[in-house]
């Protein structure tokens, strides 16, 4: 076993908080194991102990034969460790090339091996054109990919990746998994990673579910889903099932999109006309026009760096537009900024919370900033704390809270003054599925029951289903705008349905399929591609796979939202190449 963990325990605050409580598991050579679990379950602590940067209080852990509890320094030669956060381990002022060079030198990678490896990684991540760009100017997804190159540059035998794809757009995430699978197949690399994306967990050979510091379920994705009664059980269902038995209430299943009539007869509360923002020669937002009505949820989807954040900032009055007009809650954002501010709520990507202030203090500050009187503030804070499940954490500081709770706190402080318009900038990045469901219930409730106008950006395609209207952004432009089902229908009309191939040995099958269909992608454990002539494709591929001795089953599927997105970008001739 490359990784062998027995009874590992880590406590904080003199033993009062148990971050890791007697965890035992093993990972064999060439295996990809995913650690999933709600925020604060102890996943990061396990990885940090294995990487030798955190001491353990009890138990043993060995990585590649090295006892990391006793001799943490020895393990550092064989591992590649990627900490949590959007490329948090990069040096912003250094260029892409310089960041890679630093890790090469730090790890003493021989030159020949380096050249070869670097070229391959750059090709796979498509970062080669950006070598001279400072890392600080890259989008989140590009940062994450660069961080991965830096982690892989010394060809480590063991990879410890902490939420490597959080905040990364779907297209970049596919690149990421292609790299991982290539390394596992070609070099027998062992991978232990944490993730909050359940479709990614399905790509792992085995999955371990952690909760409150303990492992509560483990097995292959099939074993875990099979153990559940439901026929079409997904890992997300497994996650929700196991956790609901551990004191966490699952939110109700995602509600269907309500009818359009709910808001069409109201005047738009957010209106942008040919709104643009340029930074020097770079156009961040390019003539975007859109309207959002009271009670409507508009979702902005797009890869990292598409201009979603800049658009939202302009609508909030945080970023002056270079051209165009924006009217929010009846006031021009540029000229009547002060009037707009009282009626909007804004939740930024970074959850602008004061890390040294308690939950209650953060909320009281927000109440004060919007001039709520004491009684109203107290009433609303109590109500929000209760409805968001934050009541028991009211005296804790955000830094000590899991991401999901921090996110809810950020939402609470954004809606405390009951704004007419709510701007949410990637509010769910890195948050576990259960917390995300809960979060969306709240947002839908705000919009559909209280008539709040919501404009939200996200990377999670499954969340698109929560929106009434979707806008696809790419390179600063709004390339599609419409109801989710409309967009899917259009995309299917343009590019055909999906062909999906299920094969037990999906890694090998994937290599083979790609020889025939270069566009094919791994989606979970499935190989899929959009096809104008699905039947012909199926015939050809099943024959080829059978010839290679691979068992496989193919079917035609409707487009998912992610497929729709990729297809729209492709059709617009905008997909990256």
């Amino acid at each position: 076993m490359v990784i062998d963990v027995r009874g590992l325990t880590k406590t904080y605050a003199r033993g009062r908080i148990r971050a890791v409580a007697g965890v035992s598991f093993t990972v064999a050579r060439g295996e990809v194991v995913g650690l999933i679990g709600p925020d604060g379950a102890g996943k990061t602590s396990v990885l940090q102990i294995l990487a030798g940067v955190l001491g353990a209080d009890a138990g043993t852990a060995s990585v590649a034969g090295v006892d990391v509890v006793r001799d943490p320094e020895a393990v550092k030669h064989v591992i590649g460790y990627m900490p949590q956060g959007l490329g948090l381990n990069l040096y912003d002022s250094l260029t892409v090339a310089e960041n890679v060079e630093f890790f090469r030198d730090l790890r003493r990678v021989p030159r020949a091996q380096y050249e070869d490896n670097r070229e391959r990684l750059l090709r796979m991540t498509r970062l080669a054109p950006f070598l001279a760009r400072p890392a600080g100017t890259l989008s989140g997804g590009m940062r994450q990919k660069l961080a991965l190159i830096c982690t892989l540059i010394h060809l480590p035998d063991v990879l410890l990746l902490d939420e490597p794809t959080t905040g990364v757009d779907p297209v970049s995430r596919r690149d990421f998994w292609t790299i991982i699978h290539t390394l596992v197949v070609s070099r027998g690399v062992t991978v232990l990673l944490t993730t909050s994306y359940m479709d990614e967990a399905e790509r792992c050979h085995r999955v371990s579910l952690m909760h409150a510091g303990a492992l509560i379920a483990a097995g292959t994705p099939d074993e875990l889903t099979g153990a559940l009664a439901g026929r079409h059980a997904s890992l997300e269902d497994v996650f929700v099932h196991h956790l609901s038995g551990h004191g966490r209430e699952p939110g109700p299943a995602l509600a269907a999109t309500p009818g359009e009539a709910a808001f069409d007869d109201h005047a738009a509360t957010v209106r942008a006309e040919r709104l643009s923002c340029r930074f020097g020669a770079f156009t961040a937002v390019d003539e975007v026009s859109l309207e959002v009505r009271p009670g409507e949820i508009l979702g902005l989807l797009g890869p990292n760096g598409a201009g979603k954040t800049t658009l939202i900032k302009m609508l909030c009055g945080l970023q002056p537009p270079t051209a165009g007009t924006a009217v929010v809650a009846g006031h021009d954002v540029r000229r009547e900024r002060a009037r707009v501010r009282g009626s909007i709520g804004y939740m930024s990507q970074r959850f602008a919370l004061y890390r040294d202030q308690t939950v209650l203090e953060n909320l009281r500050l927000s109440a004060g900033l919007y001039g709520l009187d004491r009684a109203t503030a107290g009433r609303r804070i109590d109500a929000l704390l209760a409805s968001l499940g934050l009541a028991e954490f009211r005296d804790r500081v955000p830094l000590a809270l899991p991401l999901g709770l921090r996110q809810r706190l950020a939402l609470a402080s954004a809606i405390l003054h009951e704004p007419r318009v709510l701007f949410l900038d990637e509010p769910t990045a890195g948050v576990d599925p259960l917390a995300r469901r809960h979060f969306w219930d709240l947002v839908r409730d705000l919009a559909h029951r209280r008539g709040v106008t919501v404009l939200v950006s996200t990377h999670y395609m499954d969340e698109a289903a929560n929106c009434d209207t979707l806008g696809f952004m790419h390179q600063g432009r709004l390339v599609a705008l419409g109801r989710p089902d409309e967009l899917t229908r259009q995309a299917e009309k343009a590019g055909g349905p999906m062909v999906a191939v299920d094969a037990p040995d999906f890694a090998r099958a994937f290599v083979l399929v790609r020889e025939h269909v270069p566009d094919a992608m791994l989606y979970g454990r499935r190989i899929r591609w959009q096809s104008d002539h699905p039947d012909a494709d199926i015939r050809a591929l099943t024959a080829a796979l059978a010839a290679a001795g691979l068992e496989a089953r193919a079917e035609i599927q409707p487009l998912s939202m992610e497929d729709t997105f990729a297809s729209v970008l492709h059709a617009a001739g905008l997909n990256r190449g």
């Binding site: 940090q48 990487a51 320094e73 900490p83 948090l88 250094l94 310089e98 630093f102 030198d105």
Partner: protein, 377 residues
């Protein structure tokens, strides 16, 4: 070991060069200070405001007061009438010194008697008060010598040409007694204790705040690799700072420099290693950048300013002061700097100071090594 140190050093260098404002200011501020001190701002106490209450108004008293008027150390601002008025001038800061000449001043001197002149000094700035008293004494001594000479002539004592006991004063090292000649080299010592440690004090704590420190923690780089890699470029910056200041002081200000530039450079290098190391210790022990900065001011900058002997000899400090002075590297470097600029001579007199700097460096890096743990939390 070497290549990992270089890897970290190269990274630090690149980061440093990417923030030209920050790096630039680390050179601009010391230079500006130097130019201020070298050209405009004089630390010499001159032109002290003096007022006179002359109750005698005789030739004698006028002669005596002329001694003050003609001295560059004093500026006569007023002739007052009463002691009360004099007090008021001192109190309001319009005069620092008041001379009270008694009504019988001329009469007593012409009768070969001793006469007392009251000198009131503003003591609220004590060192200035002492200097003022010293100057008053000097002017009075000159006047007394004049009186004595006249008396000797009158009494036929060797033609009045020589005094019975005569002092011959020669000033070495800084013959013109300009404060610039010792303040500027002194500022070199202080400035090198301000900017390099402030820069290096942010090195570790900043990476800890941003999270990039994990790269180093999770890599095979040893604690020594990390410290040396981070220190290297900053020692170079500090040394460069030294070279710039040195060049400016010698060529632009034409300061006296009689010693060995090599010896001074060697000491500056050792001193840079110490100051950067001190910053790293602070950086390894603090949790926020602000705390690191404030700690640097209190632990590195302030003691250097107060105890290194920039304004007065270390020997003149009290026991506590002398003890602290010997704990800080600035004192030892000051010894070498003053020596190199003003005194010259071989390396031998400075060997103890150089050894102290080397010893200090060893201790500082040992503490930094102990303080830096490759662990989170």
């Amino acid at each position: 070991m070497g290549d990992r140190v270089l890897a970290i050093a190269r990274k630090e260098t690149r980061q440093l060069l990417r923030d030209p404002v920050y790096l630039g200011l680390a050179f601009v501020v010391p230079l500006m200070l130097l130019i201020l001190l070298g050209y405009q701002l004089s630390l010499d106490v001159k032109g002290l405001l003096v007022a006179v209450v002359d109750r005698d108004r005789s030739v004698w008293s006028r002669q005596y007061v002329d001694g003050f008027v003609n001295s560059e150390y004093f500026r006569l601002v007023a002739r007052l009438d009463s002691e009360a008025q004099a007090r008021e001038w001192i109190r309001s800061g319009r005069a620092r010194v008041v001379l009270d000449i008694p009504p019988d001043f001329g009469r007593r001197l012409s009768a070969n008697e001793t006469v007392a002149v009251g000198v009131t000094v503003d003591g609220s700035f004590p060192s200035r008060g002492q200097i003022a008293l010293g100057y008053v004494e000097a002017v009075s001594t000159l006047y007394n010598q004049q009186l004595l000479r006249a008396w000797l002539v009158e009494h036929g004592w060797r033609g009045g040409q020589v005094l019975p006991v005569q002092m011959e004063m020669s000033v070495w090292y800084n013959p013109t007694l300009e404060s610039k000649n010792f303040i500027v080299p002194g500022m070199l010592v202080i400035v090198m204790m301000i900017f390099p440690p402030l820069l290096s004090a942010l090195l570790i704590v900043r990476e800890r705040e941003s999270g990039t420190i994990l790269n180093l923690y999770a890599s095979p780089a040893t604690r020594w690799d990390i410290l040396a890699g981070k220190a290297l470029p900053y020692v170079a910056v500090s040394f460069l700072d030294f070279l710039v200041i040195f060049a400016v002081s010698v060529w632009l200000f034409q300061l006296r420099f009689v010693g060995s530039a090599w010896l001074l450079s060697a000491a500056a290098l050792l001193y840079s290693i110490c100051t950067i190391g001190l910053g790293l210790v602070i950086s390894a022990l603090t949790r926020t950048q602000l705390a690191a900065m404030l700690a640097t001011f209190l632990v590195a900058v302030a003691p250097a300013f107060t105890f290194s002997g920039i304004f007065a000899p270390v020997a003149s400090q009290d026991a506590v002061g002398r003890f602290v002075a010997h704990l800080i590297p600035a004192t030892y470097f000051m010894d070498v700097v003053r020596g190199a600029y003003l005194k010259g001579g071989g390396a031998a007199p400075y060997a103890p100071s150089l050894a102290a700097l080397a010893g200090y460096a060893v201790v500082v890096y040992a503490i930094a090594w102990l303080a830096l743990r490759k662990r989170v939390g």
